[in-house]
């Protein structure tokens, strides 16, 4: 009898081929000026700085460096626009401009996504599926409120504030600009916005769209620069309100700077949010939630679920599955559609993360990193787990702002609540359980501005976002986001 032919296949390695998003369609200038009074003006200092692509350290563009004089010019332009045009524009007209900006952004969503990924190092999947659509939705959402403010605040007279100085961080550059500009415009304010120095490009692209939308000159001014530029906005006499998203350290400086003035402020600061897994949780989905909670945007998320609390009875299983799961994460080129974890935003940030990893090891914690390859050039960090840590460990107490998760166990729900609340921060928390009653119990007792149940890092323009304690005050998003930009009488 002839030997039977073999039709059984052998297990082979199957790697995904590179699937890079094309950047040939984007329109990016070599040099960007300041957007003041509806015009692109050169910085009075004549100084420029480079913005680079953190994935390969290549220079993307030269960016104008604004000083006090430029900020004064921008605030004056905003004040003039407020007095002569914007405060007299009918709310329904304001809405039309905001809708137009939203639509223009949506039309160029791909260009925005690509530039965002190039400038910030975040993966194209996230900028394409999260950042840009959410930013558009914020404009759409607040456009709807512009002529309905009397319903937002029944029986109150609603007045705008005037000129809002806004300072945004580098983790969600476009999205944070949208969070700040959209409600300010809807409520009838003018804006001077400064994006972060490492990621100014999408805010400048937004300025181009604003220009194209025909929004009256000076209603939105976009100025670029470093910390001193931001300080000039905060300290300018004619600014009525400061909206800041960034580190708790800078938040404290701002708070001090405006202490003796009547400037209003909303501060959205750091966090060290707890993600709590109870023993009855759907474990596999909880593991996904942990991954999404800490590795989303390389962990550069103020509400990142950076402290994991697992009930002891399921701790072993959760950690084993978590290790298995992160070994399938692809770290690499942010422009590749299959990349899960992109580049760290800057060398400075990578140094900070590496310093904390060293502290973790020095303090005797057990580290786990998957054995994945990293690109040779550019700033990258493997997803990192730290076991054997305690409330008193530095890496448990301080915000790392990177893909580093600390894992602690607890025995009872009360213990979890106590530990979760035992932090100066209070931005967000996650609860994983199959029991509704447990969700309500924990949600009532956790001191955090945002609490997710059986999910994590979900954002929506209709939902307010903001912190407790040193994570800041004021809310952005939703109906509550409007009150940060109005005087009620």
């Amino acid at each position: 009898m002839a030997k039977k032919k073999e039709n059984q296949s052998k297990a082979v390695k199957w790697d995904y081929s590179p699937a890079p998003e094309s950047s040939s369609h984007i329109n990016m200038k070599d040099q960007y000026e300041l957007f003041i009074g509806g015009k692109w003006v050169k910085p009075s200092s004549g100084k420029y700085f480079d913005t680079i692509n953190p994935a390969n350290k290549r220079k993307l563009a030269k960016i104008a460096y604004a000083n006090e004089k430029d900020i004064d010019k921008a605030v004056k332009a905003a004040r003039k626009a407020y007095k002569t045009v914007w405060s007299k524009t009918a709310p329904a007209e304001r809405a039309k401009y905001i809708y137009r900006i939203a639509r223009l952004m949506q039309e160029r969503a791909r260009e925005f996504a690509v530039i965002e990924s190039l400038d910030s190092g975040k993966v194209i999947r996230e900028s394409r599926d999260v950042d840009v659509p959410l930013a558009c939705n914020h404009f759409f959402y607040y456009a709807g409120w512009a002529d309905k403010l009397e319903y937002a605040f029944p029986n109150r007279k609603v007045e705008s504030l005037g000129v809002a100085g806004q300072i945004t961080p580098w983790n969600f550059p476009l999205l944070m600009a949208a969070w700040k500009i959209a409600p300010a415009l809807a409520t009838g304010n003018c804006v001077v916005l400064k994006p972060a120095e490492t990621t100014p490009l999408t805010a400048l692209k937004l300025a181009e769209i604003i220009e194209e939308s025909g929004l009256p000159p000076g209603v939105v001014n976009i100025v670029t620069g470093y910390g001193d530029t931001g300080a000039a906005i905060v300290n300018h006499d004619d600014v009525d309100k400061i909206a800041f998203t960034g580190s708790t350290g800078v938040g404290k400086i701002i708070q001090k700077a405006i202490a003796s003035t009547d400037k209003k402020a909303t501060l959205e600061l750091g966090g060290k949010s707890a993600n709590i897994i109870l023993e009855d949780a759907p474990i596999d989905q909880a593991v996904e939630g942990i991954v999404n909670g800490i590795f989303f945007n390389q962990g550069h998320v103020c509400c990142a679920g950076s402290r994991l609390f697992v009930q002891e009875s399921v701790a072993e299983e959760v950690i084993e599955k978590l290790k298995h799961r992160i070994s399938s994460l692809i770290v690499g080129d942010p422009m590749d559609k299959n990349t899960d974890i992109g580049a760290i935003n800057s060398k400075e940030q990578l140094d900070i993360i590496n310093r904390y990893i060293k502290i973790g090891l020095d303090e005797g914690a057990t580290m786990y990193q998957p054995d994945c390859s990293l690109p040779k050039s550019g700033y990258y960090c493997r997803p990192t787990l730290f076991m054997n840590v305690a409330q008193s460990s530095t890496i448990v107490q301080e915000e790392i702002f990177g893909p580093v998760l600390t894992i602690q166990t607890f025995r009872t729900v009360d213990e979890a609540i106590e530990k979760a609340n035992n932090t100066p921060y209070g931005l967000a928390a996650g609860i994983w359980t199959d029991k509704g009653s447990r969700i309500f119990n924990l949600a009532n007792k956790l001191n955090a501005g945002v609490i997710w149940a059986n999910t994590y890092n979900k954002f929506d323009p209709t939902s307010p976002f903001g912190g407790y304690k040193e994570s800041g005050f004021g809310r952005e998003g939703g109906l509550q986001g409007l009150s940060a930009y109005v005087k009620l009488k």
Binding site: N7, Q8, A11, W14, Y16, S17, A19, N454, T455
Partner: protein
Amino acid sequence: MSTQKDRLSLIIPNFKESPCVDKVGVEERVARFQTRSIKAEAKAQGLRMALNMIDLTTLEGKDTPRKVKQMCYKAQHLHSVCPGLPNVAAVCVYPSMVGVAKKAVGDSGVKVASVSTAFPSGQAPLSVKIMDTKFAVAEGADEIDMVISRGKFLSGEYNFVFDEIAAIKDACGKTRLKVILETGELVTLDNVRRASDIAMYGGADFIKTSTGKIQPAATMQVTYTMLQAIRDFKLKTGIQIGMKPAGGISNSKLALHNLVMVKETLGEDWLTNEWFRFGASSLANDVLMQIMKAETGVYQSTNYFSKD
């Protein structure tokens, strides 16, 4: 492969306490698999892999020996104008057609799988199911695809379902057993998870989503839930179980997304037709069409691909 003796030495868990599954979380994870972009070399490799994992299926009341022979010929000559293509993994037929199929596939290496246990409803006494299975095995079936008693499962009689699977596994002897959960009738993912656990502890070598007679069939959500059950079973017992989504996977893109899901949930050990199969009748031609597109640069009309 584990023997039934190995399996019976396991400590049987209380199936009422099978892990719960969060549907929203599963949908989100599945959506992520679907954003994977499979291009170039990875696509070419994936398509060939998929082709080699297909169980070419005909399960109709009107099946005849001639129809089955034609399908078996197709199984061995998928697309002769393109040399070097693999064969499909198996053909899947009713017990009465096993003899015909066995002869028709000859020594090609294509396996013959037979549905049994009063497929598709499973509404028959155990003695009939055992006879059905033994008949198919005697006719030369390499694999048996049994159905579970969904009515008993839904009335909470998990031990009944378990015992039945164990009895059929006995009747199979060395023939590999695939256990069809018919997830479209189990409805919830919690049920899918529980039924997967029962099947694996009962003696399944493979777990399979559907008969193809009930909608919805092999949704990615269901397959993902079953893959996780397989991974947990491997972690707990060290025994590797195969997976067969069946019904509804009709195009290459969906097949590739399924392979992505297997790779990222279970690992590459499962990326072979020993451990992963597609139960499908129309998938093969779509995969062939994509392979030809990759080879020639253009899509060819469906008229160029044989329909057997």
